[in-house]
């Protein structure tokens, strides 16, 4: 609060000084904007364009109007794929949020060995997701793996494996977010609660969780969007199988694009994923009140 007051008074002192010490100049955003334009906006625009064409990767795309979109709605595999994608997203969210939140809060403390263990926990996130998927594929091999059960041979097994491997990989990242969030919670709140006689669990549910509300939103948006675009693990672990039991939307997109060479149809799936992810992010942000940027520390 105090810093805002100071800034307001600087602005009042004169516009020249304000431009020097106030908000950063727009040019500073240029590298990020350029990067975002070339690697996100332009490909997105291209995908949208391609979704109205028929293109096999050779020659020029041929406009076909809404054909790909009609085909998408008529595709018998769409319902299954959509359901799988939603279930995967929810399962990944539940798994990663619960574990990452607990780990993050723990890692924010001052226990012995905390720094060392936190560093070790972070390692999976540094590995390439392809390498992780290949590693788990070998571990889960039905004949020569460590378990030797047919984990990937049933729908539930294959699905759980995908959720677990994804969680194992991305949990460290969300742990880090929660660790940062938990560190921000003022110590005085806990001290006051302790004086009032609140125990460990009461403190967690009445102070830590509410204070982490915005952190949870951030982490949730990242998990949801990440799950919607989750792909390489599925490709390597199950190839969408057994049968089509784990063929989530991004995998369907890959199959249409890089196996059937129907880039128009693949782009229609890609575009619908963009729309879904954007919509979901907006809804999440609105529901959580994150957008209004209300402070969790009002009145302190």
């Amino acid at each position: 609060m105090t810093s805002t007051v100071q800034k307001t008074s600087t602005v009042e002192q004169g516009s020249r000084k304000a431009s020097r010490v106030g908000r950063p100049h727009a040019v500073w955003a240029l590298p990020a904007v350029l990067f975002f334009t070339f690697f996100a906006v332009v490909p997105m625009g291209l995908a949208l364009y391609l979704s109205f064409t028929s293109w096999d990767g050779l020659g020029d795309p041929r406009p076909v109007g809404l054909d790909n979109w009609k085909k998408l709605l008529d595709d018998p595999r769409l319902t299954q794929s959509l359901t799988l994608t939603v279930v995967l997203t929810v399962a990944s969210w539940a798994f990663q949020t619960v574990v990452a939140l607990l780990l993050g809060v723990w890692a924010a403390g001052r226990q012995r060995n905390r720094a060392v263990l936190s560093a070790i926990f972070f390692v999976p996130f540094l590995l390439s997701s392809t390498a992780i998927a290949i590693l788990f594929y070998a571990l889960l091999d039905p004949n020569f793996g460590i378990i030797q059960a047919d984990t990937l041979g049933s729908q539930s097994g294959a699905f759980l494996a995908i959720v677990f491997v994804g969680g194992w990989q991305f949990m460290p990242f969300h742990t880090l977010i929660y660790q940062g969030g938990a560190r921000q919670i003022p110590e005085v709140l806990y001290q006051a609660a302790a004086i009032d006689g609140a125990g460990r669990y009461r403190q967690f549910f009445s102070i830590t969780l509410p204070q982490l509300r915005h952190t949870i939103t951030t982490s949730t948006v990242l998990i949801v969007v990440g799950s919607l675009t989750y792909f390489e693990t599925v490709l390597i672990l199950t190839k969408g199988g057994p049968g089509t039991d784990t063929a989530i939307l991004p995998y369907l997109m890959y199959e249409a694009g890089f196996k059937q060479y129907d880039f128009g149809y693949a782009s229609a799936i890609a575009t619908s994923l963009v729309i879904a992810a954007t919509g979901l992010s907006l809804v999440l942000v609105r529901l959580s009140g994150f957008g209004s940027m209300r402070s969790t520390r009002e009145g302190m």
């Binding site: 975002f36 690697f39 996100a40 906006v41 332009v42 490909p43 997105m44 291209l46 995908a47 391609l50 096999d56 990767g57 050779l58 020659g59 889960l140 091999d141 039905p142 004949n143 020569f144 047919d150 990937l152 041979g153 294959a158 948006v221 990242l222 969007v225 990440g226 919607l228 675009t229 792909f231 199950t238 190839k239 199988g241 057994p242 049968g243 089509t244 039991d245 991004p250 997109m253 890959y254 199959e255 694009g257 890089f258 196996k259 059937q260 060479y261 129907d262 880039f263 693949a266 890609a270 575009t271 994923l273 963009v274 992810a277 954007t278 992010s281 907006l282 942000v285 957008g291 209004s292």
Partner: protein, 444 residues
């Protein structure tokens, strides 16, 4: 407050759009990132050749090294650079490269349906006249194999690897231990299955997660039940051909095998490409393996002792009540080199293709356990690492009244992929034989 709301909206919008755009990044990168890798059809001094990068690639590498030092290459003024593309990524990598400025000049393919879209896009050199005018190419290959990869009666490829019929491999020591003989009829096969299961041995290894190994079963069963005409009709574009009783009966036999545990209970998560199925077979956990003839060189590379002493082979059995000839073969007649129409140095590329008709090349193939499709092949087979196996293969193909090209290769990528999906569902028990037939009829 009002302006503050506006600003947060746009910030929110950016957050949403920014994270969401990651969704397209995958596909977008694939489409826009074609420009990387390979000098391709650039200056004509270096001609790039894409090859399927498996254990057999050393034969092509030796040919490139030999050709680059030859007088023919010097005359054409350049060298060939071989780019080994990992097997499972070969087709998509080739497709993206062919649509980009850095396309290969020469590339490995399966002929037929696998190159149809390239031909339609005007990307292939028509080799028909070049072959007719060149004595080396004209008389260099078995005519049936040369034309097996044709499109509309024109040649677009030169045979460059061994013949690859699908063969019923068996583990000799397991068969000897349980006093079994390779089956010549379907009833015998079922009988063997029962005996093996009693001994707690999986009858057949199957890399079911790759899907194409499953396809081999249907290809042979449909051929044995209804002859090569059944698939010929489908290949020619009549999707009602899937309604032939032979297809339904074949699917029913497959279901019976699956339900019976003939492939074990874990086959849907076993892969051939990553070495799972060959290992199951070589280690005696499974007694038989229906696979392309490359199984021999795969085993030679991974389990040399097994390949040399315990690997047995037989033709696919006849099926009672079927009308197909038991001598018929399915598989890939061979692989081909095709030339990109945009190459800057066609002479160099054609010269390299001639190298594949040379005796040195055929000898390398033979040494690798392959049976070349060159006309000089037969006399070389005596020097094969396993002359018995080489001769078996050569005779199998030579005597076959019909050699049906693998269905996925014959149908091309778009249909082939969808057919794989349906076959995967059939084998995984997710669809019944009649549902399989209905689904295949609807493929387009």
């Amino acid at each position: 407050m009002e302006s503050n709301r506006g600003r947060t909206f746009s910030r929110r919008w950016f957050l949403g759009a920014g994270t969401a755009s990651l969704a397209t990044a995958g596909l977008g990168a694939g489409l826009t990132g074609c420009g990387s890798g390979g000098s391709g059809a650039g200056d004509g001094k270096t001609v790039t050749a894409f090859v399927y990068g498996d254990d057999a690639v050393k034969v092509q590498q030796a040919a490139v090294d030999r050709y680059n030092k030859s007088a023919a290459a010097k005359k054409a003024g350049g060298t060939i650079r071989l780019q080994k593309v990992p097997g499972s990524d070969y087709s998509p990598k080739l497709r993206t490269a062919m649509g980009s400025p850095s396309a290969p000049d020469v590339f490995f393919n399966w002929g037929g349906g696998s190159i149809r879209t390239y031909e339609e896009a005007g990307k292939l050199v028509d080799l028909t006249d070049i072959i007719a005018d060149d004595p080396v190419l004209k008389s260099g290959f078995l005519p049936s194999v040369l034309s097996a990869g044709d499109l509309k009666g024109r040649h677009y490829g030169i045979p460059m690897r061994g013949m690859q019929p699908v063969i019923l491999f068996y583990n000799k020591s397991v068969f000897a231990e349980h006093k079994l003989q390779p089956p010549t009829t379907w009833d015998q096969l079922l009988d063997i299955n029962a005996k093996l299961k009693k001994a707690k041995i999986t009858p057949f290894a199957l890399g079911g997660s790759d899907l194409w190994p499953n396809l081999m079963w249907l290809e042979y069963l449909v051929d044995r039940l209804g002859g090569p005409e059944v698939f010929k009709r489908i290949q020619d574009g009549d999707s009602e051909g899937w309604g032939d009783p032979a297809v339904l009966r074949a699917a029913e036999l497959v279901k019976q095998l699956v339900d019976d545990g003939a492939f074990g209970s874990k086959f849907t998560s076993v892969s051939y490409v990553n070495g799972g199925a060959p290992a199951v077979f070589a280690k005696g956990k499974a007694a038989m393996h229906l696979m392309g003839s490359w199984e021999y060189s795969t085993q030679l590379g991974k389990f040399p002792d097994f390949a040399k002493s315990n690997l047995g082979w037989a033709a696919f059995p006849t099926v009672e009540g079927g009308t197909g000839d038991v001598r018929n073969v399915v598989g890939n007649p061979t692989n081909y080199w095709s030339i990109n129409a945009r190459t800057k140095n066609k002479d160099l590329a054609v010269g390299f293709l001639k190298e594949c008709a040379s005796e040195a090349y055929a000898k390398d193939l033979v040494a690798n356990g392959d049976v070349p499709t060159t006309s000089n092949a037969k006399k070389l087979l005596a020097s094969a690492p396993n002359p018995e196996y080489a001769t078996f293969q050569y005779d199998l193909v030579e005597k076959a009244p019909a050699f049906t090209l693998s269905w996925d290769q014959a149908l091309g990528d778009a249909l082939g992929t969808k057919m794989h999906t349906e076959i995967g569902k059939l084998f995984a028990g997710k669809s019944s034989p009649s549902e399989f037939v209905t689904a295949c009829k609807g493929l387009k």
